[in-house]
Amino acid sequence: MPISDATREEARHLIARYPVARSALLPLLHLVQGEEGYVSEDGIALCAELLHLTKAEVGAVATFYTMYKREPFGDYLLSVCTNPTCAMQGGREIYEAYVDRCGGHIDRDGAGVMVEHAECLGICDAAPVVQVNYEMYGPLTTDEALGLLDKAKAGDPPPSNRSGEVPPSIRQVHREFSGIEDTFGDHLVEAARLQATAEVAPSYRSSETDIPVTHPGGDPAGHGGAAFREVAALDLVPLLGGVGTNGQDPEEDVVDPDRHTPSDEAEAEALEEVGERLAGTEDELAETLTGDRPADPVPAAHDQPPLDPDEGATPAEAGDATEED
């Protein structure tokens, strides 16, 4: 089922809330799951198109996070905590009873439910805990938990005994998670516009973990030689006389050995004290104090894909355009 135009528009608005477009990927995946009840191929294609990524890149992200489901199941997701504290209070039995009653993890009868085991849901005083569409219920006996499952299947879950809220359908919940219903979105669009046009704008590339990409939104500096030089620069730059990376100010490339020494005496003491107690922290602090490492790349205008290819809008203009709506 193709994603609706309305959703596409909302996706554009979400993208404009971030100074670097790709940040909107998790919200976008929530949004498309909000429309279809799961993340479909169409949903992935939409995210890829709007963020100028490949479908493989979007798929890699969608499969990393447990809240994105890759097949339709219906309206209610039941997550049973099976982490030790809940498990010992009966969580494991609840999970097994659920799988038993549903004949697997998905039962499309009635409203349709998916059952999953969850890791610690952060409400251990209510152990054992079950979430229905991310509303908390607990503590539950196995019988109570089965009753909850039956009500969810019937499309009529009771209010949470913790928040007092009745969980709406999974579509509505993911729509909410996308942030599109947050009423302060326009402020964020303006903020993103200002950041994207800052003196030195935020950049897409920020870590060695990036997947090499070759299309708009990617880092034209590449990830092979350039990234390597960057690492080498840490120790070798003084030796090499400051190999410039990515056309940055060569001065910044030179790692000044003096900068390893904290200037402030008191701070140095504090460092030492903390370092004594925290393994590895001393190095961390010293490195932090050396400040910037060379290599920064791409102006943000490249990062924020134009909202409409025809207009070829810069992020700034894009921000304005959305705001007028």
Partner: protein, 457 residues
């Protein structure tokens, strides 16, 4: 449900009806810390946080003020403040109650933190599963915008600060700060190589600080009540009040607030003592990543330094209490499966080690392990600890190594008896015990150090 606590400090507004509404919040001292902050220089705010000795409440205990002072200034890039609200450490529930009960506390803290490091944009990276907390924060941020605490002109000061609520999508590893930043950039949440540290290059390669919810929420209180208010609790190196979650085999598991420095035995008493008929066997002082401690360590003081001395860490304030009816191998297996599930897969020791450790523990718990397996567990752990990319790998080894250290006898009993001595997990019948397998292979020699399983053969 407030923290019915030994003390009431940061939880002071938990019980107040409607305090998630901005007007009620204002009537109870809300946004006074921000008002003070606007009268101060950024460095003065940082100094106050340093003087108070606030240490990061997310697990590592890194001094918050010091962290803020490292944020690179004057680079021309935007500076970001990111709140780590991805609370997921097993046993932890102290950030979610802040956000659900008193969401403005965090919003105010973010603005003050932004002022301290000259940031114009904050992100709250909220654990996706916390739907109610998300609702509360969304409402609070919207109200703060309406009232002019957020936006282009914070309280008429001419300073800009915006706050984005970013809901995550389920991955424990995103609680690691660089993985969080990658996730916030729309990528798989995998940790980054450091350096560069976020203070120099964090979000979008800009100077960034990442702080825990409780650390950030503490700052407005310190500005409002003064540094002495904060330091009236705790010890020299571990100051202030601490929100904790006590769970497991206690009479009243719950979210409590305690002064740093009290003996941990009192944490159990605050939670109503042990459950009827249960006796303390072991506990985790701060989540499953902090090595478990035997009952004998319960008189340790609840401070960063004393708990490290005792062989564990303060962690996230997740005090998990286990009684004599709980099998330590079962608990360790449960946590190991958790880390196995949550490993991001980036580095080999953690990705592969978690899988194999869970297999080995599973066979010990179900009565098909050998004495060699105990050495194997230790060996695999030694090869993960310190050799994985981020702290998740180290954390993975914590419960196992500590379990073997303090409860080796119980591991051995599983092997000797060919079953869980406490009967927590039924012995497997699909995999025969060693003795049975030996018999099936023409009475092959069973290694001499493996005792004959009781009732088998």
């Amino acid at each position: 449900m407030g923290a019915t606590a030994a003390i009431i400090a940061m939880s002071e507004r938990y019980g107040i009806e409607g305090v998630d509404d901005i007007e009620v919040y204002e009537q109870h001292g809300g946004y006074e810390g921000l008002r003070r902050a606007l009268e101060m220089e950024p460095t003065e705010i940082i100094e106050a946080v340093k003087d108070a000795g606030v240490r990061g409440r997310g697990g590592a205990g890194f001094p918050t003020g010091l962290k803020w002072s490292f944020v690179a200034q004057g680079t021309g890039k935007p500076i970001y403040i990111v709140c780590n609200a991805d609370e997921g450490e097993p046993g932890t529930f102290k950030d979610r109650p802040i956000m659900e009960n008193d969401p403005h506390q965090l919003v105010e803290g973010m603005i003050v933190g932004g002022l301290a490091i000259n940031s114009v944009q904050g992100y709250i990276y909220l654990r996706g599963e916390f739907r109610h907390a998300g609702r509360q924060l969304s409402k609070a941020i919207a109200q703060a915008y309406e009232k002019g605490y957020l936006g282009a002109d914070v309280m008429g000061s001419g300073k800009r600060f915006d706050l984005t609520l970013h809901r995550a999508a389920g991955a424990y590893i995103c609680g690691e700060e660089t993985a969080l930043l990658d996730s916030l950039e729309g990528k798989r949440g995998q940790p980054r190589l450091r350096p560069p540290f976020p203070a120099a290059k964090g979000l979008y390669s800009c100077p960034t600080t990442v702080n825990n919810v409780e650390s950030i929420a503490a700052v407005p209180f310190i500005l409002r009540h003064g540094v002495e208010w904060w330091t009236q609790w705790g010890t020299e190196r571990s100051t202030g009040p601490k929100l904790i979650g006590v769970s497991g085999d206690v009479a009243n598991p719950g979210n409590y607030e305690v002064p740093m420095g009290i003996p941990m035995r009192e944490l159990i008493e605050i939670a109503g003592g042990m459950k009827e008929g249960h006796e303390l066997k072991f506990f985790c002082p701060g989540g499953s990543s902090t090595p478990l401690l035997p009952a004998a360590a319960i008189d340790t003081d609840y401070t960063y330094e004393a708990v490290i001395e005792a062989g564990s860490m303060l962690g996230t304030g997740a005090v998990m209490i286990y009684s004599d009816q709980r099998c330590v191998v079962d608990a360790v297996l449960g946590w190991t499966r958790f880390y196995e599930h949550e490993s991001c897969g980036k580095c080999t020791p953690c990705r592969e080690g978690g899988y194999w450790l869970a297999q080995v523990l599973q066979r010990i718990e179900t009565g098909t392990g050998t004495m060699d397996d105990l050495a194997l567990l230790q060996d695999v752990c030694d090869n993960i600890f310190g050799r994985s990319f981020c702290a998740l790998g180290d954390a993975l080894t914590s419960p196992i190594v500590a379990g073997l250290e303090h409860f080796r006898e119980e591991f051995e009993a599983h092997v000797r008896e060919g079953r869980c001595p406490l009967g927590v997990t039924p012995p497997r019948d699909d995999i025969p015990t060693l003795a049975v397998r030996a018999r099936d292979h023409g009475n092959a020699q069973v290694p001499s150090f493996t005792a004959e399983p009781a009732g088998q053969a």
